[in-house]
Subunit: 364 residues, 2 copies
């Protein structure tokens, strides 16, 4: 093979540790999955669009002794439901998959979240391999073991913390990613710089052009460093009782914006980008963050082609109300992640509702 | 209070350790749950029959600051389904329960299994307290963290390993347990003697009359020793990859008998009793167990009022076929737990199918 060896980021979680292999031409590379497929059966879960492009390559990379079934879901967040979860379970049962089977999730966050929850729950847990094919899934869902489905009452309300055996991050799958989804993924990359690593933030500012042009070397570094940062945070707090909360920077506002716009007009990464801008502005208003730093955060998001203001349809009062329903809220108080400087954030539940309302109003 | 302090068995699982409080008059005892209800909300899940008897007492034992909702399920294994799981989730969402809520399962194995899985999955895990009200649930589901629902294709096919914060085992709730269910629970008690503790087996032989007469002191000892044994096995193997398999003694045959009789004519404990007799007989036929020990196992089960032979409707060939679908089977081989002497069992997948078929035929 003339492909270089993949980069490996290890997610260090004791006996649940696993590697993320990052590189080009990984799908279909013989031997890459061999060590992780100990049984003789597998179920590849994908969606129609990703499956049409990458299913053959994925199946070609499976060891010869593995008999793989395939389940193609319709594309879209609308199918990240208990009903789809139940369909995957039905498929595992009707295919007589036993405890030794492996579920391979080939796709973006929706496929990974629902297939991962099925892997967590089927027979109380079978092996699970993630093959993320969007930038957002590469830098977000490939680390942390969060699996879930949505409920009409809220996103990700039903799920499990469940770690994969390995993650295969083939950068070539990003070639076919729509521009808008690439940019939405960059929002999370930028988030890692803000919450944890000023040097990485500087690097993103300097390389945002290459990232948008899908330069593989730049993308490889962005993915690897993002995964490293997330892995470090998750290792310290696997079940999200403390420090892991910092990963929610931009997400409390972001989730509310998604909710009030009916999960239609904004991609998750776009909503998070707007949420990061609002949270940075709020931090600056409260004197927690220099105004110049808030400006840098907004500017790099705009340079990455991301929205920085809520859509006109997002009424500030409705957003505030939606935040009151956010599942990160402990006993009715709104807990927010606010930047203290580029590279460090704090968690506080002491922000007056009026200050939050002001920041929302100013963001229009 | 003139009630004695409860016995406590600690299930030692590191940061997931929890106590089982065993005694009389525990439901409604002030302060017993205080330390485990850290949030201000709770959902008590029960069924119509248990709820009518013990719900008021349970609610009276909750700290004053806790606002409890109640969900009463219909009674019966038929409702241990993904649909019921989904109903519980709906109830949690519509009641705006947050991450700090606690699910309290008041009832037998069905209530505990489905409410426990809901606790495991809601917001990826909320606090969970078990109040088992059947002998089977007291000695089986209160230790081990197994939660699950059934699937048309098999029992317990969807679930999670999820530990409760504590278990309240109020022996007074056994007063209203039907005789047949009491006996079914004794099958599991006897199992613990066979697989782990010859002295306990001797004690059961000597006290089976008191147990059937619901003598509280005898029941307290039987429950505590059963929980201790199960806790010791589970501690060594929380996720059932090795030694925990010995808890399945009688269960591979038992599950198959339940399946071929449509989960109607046999209670789980009754099927396990028959399974223990068949497995002991098979072990004796293979020269692994003295015939006299197999006889003792059968005799104590009969003394406890349990069936020792399969119902006429259970065709041996159908049972064998059902065993081929058992989820404990690794890559199509049948793994069996067979007694080596009273107090010790071994796990083997080397038993020829013909020997299994002979034991099934002889059991009729």
């Amino acid at each position: 093979m003339d492909q270089p060896d993949p980069l490996t980021v290890t997610v260090d979680l004791g006996d649940r540790s696993y590697p993320i292999r990052i590189g080009r031409g990984l799908l279909g590379r013989p031997g890459l999955l061999e060590a992780f497929l100990t049984g003789s059966r597998a179920l590849v879960v994908t969606n129609e669009i990703v499956g049409a492009r990458y299913l053959d390559r994925t199946l070609a990379g499976l060891p010869a002794h593995v008999r793989a079934d395939v389940m193609q879901l319709p594309d879209g967040e609308a199918f990240k439901t208990l009903a789809t979860f139940s369909d995957i379970i039905d498929r595992l049962v009707s295919g007589r998959h036993e405890r030794g089977t492996t579920i391979i999730a080939l796709g973006g966050g929706v496929v990974g979240d629902v297939a991962g929850f099925a892997a967590a729950a089927y027979q109380r847990g079978v092996a699970y391999i993630q093959v993320p094919t969007t930038l957002l899934a590469l830098v977000d869902s490939s680390v942390g073991g969060k699996t879930a489905v949505n409920h009409p009452g809220g996103k990700n309300l039903v799920g499990a913390f469940y770690q994969p055996r390995c993650v295969v991050a083939d950068l070539d799958t990003l070639d076919t990613l729509p521009d808008r989804e690439l940019r939405a993924g960059l929002a999370e990359v930028i988030k890692y710089g803000v919450i944890f690593d000023a040097e990485f933030f500087d690097w993103i500012e300097a390389h945002v052009g290459e990232l948008l042009a899908r330069d593989k070397e730049a993308l490889g570094h962005a993915v690897a460093r993002s995964c490293e940062i997330k892995a470090e945070v998750v290792r310290a707090d696997e079940r999200e009782s403390g420090v892991r909360m910092i990963l929610n920077y931009g997400h409390t506002f972001g989730h509310a914006l998604e909710a009030v716009t009916g999960y239609r007009s904004l991609l998750h990464g776009e909503a998070v980008a707007i949420g990061m801008v609002i949270a940075a502005d709020l931090a600056a208003r409260l004197g927690m963050l220099p105004a110049a730093s808030a400006t840098r955060i907004r500017d790099v998001l705009i340079a990455a082609g991301l929205p920085a203001v809520p859509p006109p349809a997002a009424d500030p009062d409705a957003v505030l109300e939606a935040m009151g329903m956010d599942k990160k809220v402990a006993d009715g108080r709104i807990r927010l992640v606010l930047p203290q400087r580029i590279g460090a954030v704090g968690v506080t539940d002491q922000v007056p509702t009026t200050a939050i309302a002001d920041a929302l109003a100013a963001a229009r």
